[in-house]
Symmetry: D2
Subunit: 338 residues, 4 copies
């Protein structure tokens, strides 16, 4: 921690802060500059220290030196984590592709989708049974009925199932039917839910909140890892910015940045990240070129009639084209798809 | 709903969309312009319609005409809602002031805080027992023990108690001890939690998520109202923007804007909204001048030793000054404080 | 400057960076922590140093300690700067009010506006003669003809004239007619223009760019001050964020923050800052309560027929009400208006 | 234009607005819904109409239907524009690569850079002679001396020269030495400058402002096109968001989006877009996969000693690697590099 004192900090204030640093168990190095004094506080930084020091008298700023996440850190585990579950693999050279409708709507719809995405090369099936909707008046999902249909689709196609869990009350239920538990962007900082999915054996797909920083995302992962579940996939699905021509802004630099900081795989969601069908395929290709470990794509038999997210869903033929192009780009960056 | 067709939309596409509009139970008016055609779809708009129409062939854009929230709407209930609970009143000309420490840390700390904020004129006590923390390694709150201390502080001072609930599992417990249930910014779209607090009799303080739009905030309130709980206070606590000299950006135009759209009272949190003690008082005064129905302020006996948020907490004397100044500004805008 | 080395930085890299720091004329203090090494580089920081050190081998981060602006800094000049020009005063306890139409449109319009805003208590007249418009097909202003009309309005009312200059080519011309030169938000980092207005005697109203940080704003002011013009007013007119219910997001914490950092006066523009007439007055009051040294308000005889910005302009009676309310709020914070 | 009336708009207000629409030369279609009335205003929309209608009595919202840019529009010119100047081609299947140092610093530096980037496959040389710097105390460029060195580098290598022009005063001078004139992000809405470069024969590289919308970018291009210069390249260099782990957020969805809306080529700048050398190459590959028509990359013989932007510059070997990988990705999306 670096404690930067105000330009006109008094010797008493500097003395006081030096003592505070030592009280917190850190070693203080006082450096007197021509214009101001800084105190370097060396040792194991902990959560509350920065806050506490920042409210001291005569303090202008406190800058942490160490990353606050530990288990997720690449410094702790340098080799990338590969996640395998049923038909699905991602990380360490393999780009896993999760595809399917936004919501499970009927047996016919989910089975047809599962078959189509499998035929095109996807290795996992997505489909929402519990749907977090902005409006209480929108379709809220088929709930357990939807989970059963997903399980049936897995039986028929062999595809691993990825689906969202929205509440601690449902973790056990969803974990029974699904292979991978998805934490949606709106719940990225629902800490009780993160702890709950940290206690089940299923891998977790953790979506970045629409205004979460990289540090907040990694600390959310840390909540899960800290409970003993080592299989966390980080998912970039776009952030909220002033841009309005896309639903969200999809910042692909997340991929190489996270690869520097963490060993966890990084999945890209170009469907939510753009919010417009005509932009999805190009952004999927860009994600692979940027080094993504996986994709999650919305596909629907008839997007126009979808109960949610139709405007960002691909038709079956569109998804087939995406997969063909993706395969070529993956090869160009020495990776394999699926 | 206004369906704007692409410039080169074919007569078949226009025909198809007109039919889709009618299928959805709306009346279609086709307006042929010099450059493109638009279809005005008149009738009761519902959640999924916009999505569905937007994915139709030849459609450039779909623009809704009606606000998607109903019960929260000022059109439905033109007079402002006043909320009263124990010592606390806000709305309709009264500026309620909630003050106290970020976290309950000890009996001594919470009782001293309650007495000090009451003496200065606050009408409710805040204090976190369940704390949503970015890092799993930070202090997580005293939980039920903290709730008991809050209840004890109410007994000793008569102040109504406002405290956060983070999980559906805890709603009943927190509702037993607290007067007002706070939904934190990170949980603004935790819909199961919103439904749960919609079922208890306690008023709810709903904080705006750091990247939530006005519509999303009002729809989150709608989740609570829709369960039968009419007492929702909306709280602006700052949004995430590119600004880094403050912790969040506090957009006070929220106040007059929401007063146009909804009858629910609007509370401002200048502590989180700025993240820096020296900015809190000026922004509290600005909030009152902008028409806020209440303030929520972090106050701590010794901010430097606070277990959380010390850098944005006021000391007792600082809070006393804030209240004196606030009283004058409230009078200048024909309101009364407390 | 604090140079934070990577966790696995080699002794050679640390040695190399220590040498680089000394080469740049700073004194290096090497602090070896339990997890990583930091080098405190003490001395006069200059523009390029941070950039240069940040690209060194084994460097994780470089954190500056000193503010990069000098002349604008409150550390250099602790007492607030008061700016007086003709009828207009702002700063040091006086809230100056600049009002008038977005664009000068005709003699009748500008003279009527000048009389009305003067009668209501404004102390300067605004009006655009050179208009920066997003579209080349929009009204671009009356140019010199507009300047003449502004000068005529000054003669008739005694109000100081504030108007925008968009190009170095026009600085001399505009400075001849106007009292205060306005630099628009889009030109905040048009450095040649900043230098040019730094060379004339007129005070300058420098608007914050829609995505400028506080540091960038202060450095833009520094460009002007550095040329010898000491009379710069900083103007907050809203930033671009994800919010769409207002035209921009108006962050009033700018006011107390800038008052900490600089001696220059801070003016608030609630017209552009909200973009909606019904929000302007409340935000003007909030600005005064937050400590603003001035307001700039768009007023038009008939907003509906304005050639620009009608949707955010006040009518004459609306402006009169704003002034009455403003006077009361100014008194409540011990300031005087006008 | 769609004029949405307030729910409680009176028949007089609806009548008044219908008349206003007709006065503006549009045809009004009044559509009475169950909850509110909308007026569809059909005809040629012009700049000021929306503003004017939005300030009418009883108006809730005005939504334009037509894009405000014309010459830049894909509707006007469906086939993509290819730009060729000297050694450089971009658009219509060719990915042009512009590379070189941020600033021209010396003969040795620019000649060495030109040779290295040419050897690696770049087809144009970048280098700043006039530098827009945030601080007046930073290196401001070698000015005309720098232009001469760029021309000399062209002579020695045959590479087309791309360099920034910051002021109308310098357009003629820079146009004499450079092949392509760059308008920097800070000057994207410096309209006098846009008009000036619209009058010279050189192609223009127009960088998106850090908070510019797509519409504002296309309208800025329209200022240039409208003066008669048809050769405009649009350049995405990152936008300002809450993200702080990168210097800017680089939204690659800009590429397919702009390709839908305009025939102009789209260039990506991953150096400014990320601000960190280790992220540049992956984002360059992603840009190509997303369909970019060109790249602009900062390369320096010794980034650590660069006078600007060293932390985001590639070394010669790093650039060589970038080009090798880029070639493979370009082939995978059926394009050719250079």
């Amino acid at each position: 921690m670096i404690v930067v004192m105000e330009k006109d900090a008094t010797p008493e204030q500097i003395q006081h802060m030096t003592q505070r640093v030592e009280e917190l168990g850190l070693k203080a190095h006082v450096i007197r500059g021509t214009e101001r004094t800084v105190i370097a506080a060396v040792g194991a930084e902990r959560g509350t220290m920065q806050e506490s020091l920042a409210s001291g008298p005569g303090v202008a700023d406190v800058m942490p030196i160490l990353a606050p996440y530990k288990v997720a850190s690449r410094e702790l585990k340098p080799e990338p984590t590969e996640i395998k579950v049923g038909s699905f693999t991602c990380g360490a050279g393999t780009v896993g592709v999760i595809a399917g409708p936004c919501s499970v709507e009927s047996e016919e719809q989910i089975i047809a989708s599962a078959r189509a995405v499998k035929a095109a090369g996807a290795t996992a099936l997505r489909g929402g049974a519990f749907k977090p909707r902005t409006s209480p008046y929108s379709f809220q999902g088929m709930k357990e009925e939807g989970l059963k249909l997903l399980a049936q689709a897995r039986e028929e196609t062999g595809l691993a199932v990825v689906t969202e869990v929205m509440s601690t009350d449902d973790v056990e239920l969803v974990a029974r039917y699904a292979d991978v538990l998805q934490i949606g962007a709106r719940n990225m900082q629902n800490y009780r839910l993160l702890e709950a999915v940290g206690k089940v054996p299923n891998p977790v797909l953790l979506k970045r909140g629409a205004s979460a920083t990289m540090e907040e995302l990694l600390l959310a992962a840390e909540y899960i890892l800290n409970e003993g579940n080592p299989n966390v996939m980080l998912c970039e699905r776009g952030i909220r910015t002033f841009e309005s021509h896309t639903r969200f802004t999809l910042p692909l630099a997340t991929v190489p940045y996270l690869h520097q900081k963490t060993h966890l795989p990084v999945i890209i969601d170009p469907s939510h990240g753009t919010g417009h069908t005509p932009l999805v395929t190009d952004m999927a290709l860009a994600a692979i070129a940027a080094g993504a470990d996986g994709l999650i794509i919305e596909v629907h038999p008839e997007p126009e009639k979808a109960m949610s997210d139709g405007y960002q869903s691909l038709t079956f033929p569109q998804f087939e084209t995406l997969m063909k192009k993706s395969r070529r780009v993956a090869e160009a960056v020495d990776k394999k798809l699926g």
